[in-house]
C-alpha cells in the first residue's frame, strides 16, 4: 500500500496523514508567500502611483501579473503538479481553464460586437 506512494514522493518524510495527499513545506509556503506579496504589491503600485502614465499598458501588465500570481498560488499553496491524484487534478484544471477562457473571452468578444453594431452612440471605446 505505502510502497507505491513512497515511490512517488521520495523526498517527503511525513506520511502520517496520507501518503498521496498534497504536501507542503515551510520553504514552499514562504517562497509562495514572498512571490505572492511581490506580485500583489507591483500592480497596486502601478495603479496607485500611476507609474506608467498609460492606461492600456498598465491594464495589460496588471492582468499578466494576476495570471502569474494565480500560477504561483496553484504551485506553492494548492501544491498542484502533474503527478497529484494520478494527473486527474491537472486534467480537471486544464478543462476548467478552457471553459473559463471560452466563457469570459467569448462573452466580452460577442458583447463588444453587439455594442458596435447596435448602440454606436453608447460606445465608450470608439464611435461606431
Amino acid at each position: 500500500m505505502s510502497s507505491d506512494a513512497h515511490a512517488s514522493h521520495p523526498a517527503d518524510g511525513h506520511h502520517a496523514i496520507a501518503a498521496d495527499a498534497p504536501h507542503g513545506s515551510m520553504k514552499g509556503y514562504l517562497t509562495g508567500f514572498v512571490l505572492a506579496v511581490v506580485l500583489t504589491v507591483i500592480p497596486f503600485w502601478l495603479v496607485m502611483g500611476n507609474v506608467l502614465d498609460n492606461a492600456v499598458a498598465t491594464s495589460i501588465l496588471v492582468i499578466v501579473l494576476a495570471v502569474v500570481q494565480i500560477v504561483v498560488h496553484m504551485i506553492y499553496f494548492l501544491h498542484l503538479d502533474t503527478a497529484s491524484e494520478g494527473g486527474w487534478n491537472m486534467l480537471a484544471l486544464i478543462f476548467t481553464v478552457i471553459m473559463v477562457v471560452i466563457g469570459i473571452v467569448g462573452s466580452l468578444w460577442v458583447m463588444y460586437h453587439l455594442n458596435l453594431n447596435m448602440m454606436p452612440g453608447m460606445m465608450t471605446a470608439r464611435p461606431g
Binding site: 504536501h23 509556503y29 508567500f33 505572492a36 495603479v47 498560488h73
Partner: protein, 206 residues
C-alpha cells in the same frame, strides 16, 4: 492512519488498496472537482462584470466608488490568512494539535477581518446611494464581490466547525482529510480574489 500503524503495516506488506486509503484519495479529487465547478460560477460572474463594467447608467463610476487603499488592506488580510492556513497544514502534518488549532484560529481571525472590511465597504457604498440597484455596473460588482465574500463567510463557519472537531477528537484521519479539503477551499478563495482585485478594483479605477 497514525505513525504507529504505518510502521506496523510496513512490517506486514499488504498487496491491496485498503478502503480507507481509497476513500481518502477520491475525497480530495472530488473536492478538487467541486472547486473547479465553483471556478466556473466565478467565471460566469467575471464575464458578466466584464461586459457591464462601464454601464454606469449615469450613476457613480468605478473610480468614484472604489477605495483602492481599502482593498489593498483587504488583499493583505486574505493573503496573510492564506499563509497561516498553510502553517496550520504543516503543523497538522507534524501532528501538533495545539499549534494546528492556533494557526487555524489566526486564519479565521484574518478571514473575519477581510469580511468585516468588505461589509464596511459595502455599507459605505450603499449609504452613498451606490447600491446594487443603481446601475448594471454596481449590480455586477455586488454580485461578483458579494459571492466571493459569501464563500469566505461560509469558509469561516466551516473553519470553526473543524476547530471544534479537532478540539474534541484530535487530528484523526477523518479530521486531517477535512482540514486538507478546507485548506484547498481557502487557497482557492485567495486565487479568486487575485482576479477580483486585479479586474474589478485596479482595472476599474484606471
Amino acid at each position: 492512519m497514525s505513525t504507529e500503524s504505518a510502521v506496523q503495516t510496513a512490517g506486514q506488506p499488504a498487496f491491496y488498496v485498503t478502503e480507507e486509503e481509497h476513500a481518502h484519495s477520491s475525497t480530495l479529487l472530488g473536492f478538487w472537482i467541486y472547486i473547479m465547478s465553483d471556478t466556473l460560477i466565478f467565471a460566469a460572474l467575471f464575464a458578466t462584470f466584464g461586459v457591464l463594467r462601464h454601464r454606469y447608467a449615469g450613476g457613480p463610476t468605478a473610480a468614484e466608488v472604489l477605495d483602492i487603499p481599502g482593498v489593498a488592506l483587504n488583499t493583505a488580510m486574505l493573503l496573510i490568512s492564506s499563509i497561516t492556513c498553510g502553517f496550520a497544514m504543516l503543523e497538522m502534518q507534524k501532528r501538533n494539535k495545539g499549534s494546528t488549532l492556533f494557526w487555524l484560529a489566526v486564519t479565521g481571525l484574518f478571514g473575519a477581518a477581510f469580511v468585516g472590511l468588505e461589509l464596511h465597504e459595502f455599507a459605505t457604498m450603499i449609504a452613498e446611494g451606490a447600491g446594487p440597484q443603481r446601475s448594471a455596473f454596481l449590480s455586477a460588482f455586488f454580485t461578483l464581490v458579494g459571492t466571493h465574500g459569501t464563500h469566505v463567510t461560509i469558509g469561516i463557519v466551516w473553519l470553526i466547525t473543524l476547530m471544534v472537531q479537532v478540539g474534541r477528537k484530535g487530528l484523526i484521519h477523518e479530521n486531517a482529510r477535512r482540514l486538507m479539503c478546507f485548506s484547498m477551499f481557502w487557497h482557492f478563495l485567495d486565487v479568486i480574489w487575485i482576479g477580483v482585485f486585479s479586474v474589478v478594483y485596479l482595472l476599474g479605477v484606471l
